[in-house]
Amino acid sequence: MLTWALDVASVLLAVSLLLAGWRLLRGPDVVDRVLALDTLYVNAAALLVMYGIRLGAGWYYEAALVIAMLGFLSTLAFAKFLLRGDLAE
């Protein structure tokens, strides 16, 4: 049952990554692309958590946390850049 659930979750998360990637390519505005990149980060972290359950390993947690933190900081930097036109003034 757990293996079946992990297979289903792999397919669903891959489709959600593809949808976010499609929005990243399509736009139409740069804010849409930043939002799609943020969704990609969170979905990649979710995929890593799922993979960690599948492997039964604990190392996945650090990788997912690094991805989530870098994604949050880069989204913050992008939003700040779009608001001010500069990162540090």
Partner: protein
């Protein structure tokens, strides 16, 4: 022994539910017609999805005897940072002058009641 089976069923349900919520968030991002609507999918549904997946990981590793609260910490981090990034992106969109599809702009609503043309959406 049956408790282990029930716990495994709960873990499997949480995994499927979390990935379905993540898929719904990305579907909202891909299919909603307007940026301010698109912001809803990733900021709410995806957060719930990763929360479900982290709860599944917590229960799974608790069953295997390696209980840790890393997952709780990670879930709190995601739940705290997602609204901040969504708020900043909405502010950036307002700053760039992105228009919404419906007449949901409070400044426009307080003024004239004229609906916006549906073609003038980014």
């Amino acid at each position: 022994m049956s408790g282990g089976v029930v716990l495994e069923a709960i873990v499997a349900f949480l995994i499927v539910a979390g990935s379905v919520f993540a898929l719904l968030g990305s579907l909202g991002l891909a299919r909603f017609p307007d940026f301010y609507m698109r912001l809803h999918g990733p900021s709410k549904a995806t957060t719930l999805g990763i929360g479900c997946l982290l709860a599944a990981a917590l229960l799974h590793f608790a069953q295997r005897g390696t209980l840790s609260f890393h997952e709780v910490l990670f879930g709190m981090f995601v739940a705290l940072t997602t609204p901040v990034s969504a708020h900043l992106l909405a502010r950036a969109a307002r700053h760039r002058g992105l228009r919404d599809l419906r007449n949901t702009d409070p400044e426009a609503r307080s003024g004239d009641r004229e609906p916006r043309p549906p073609g003038g959406v980014q």
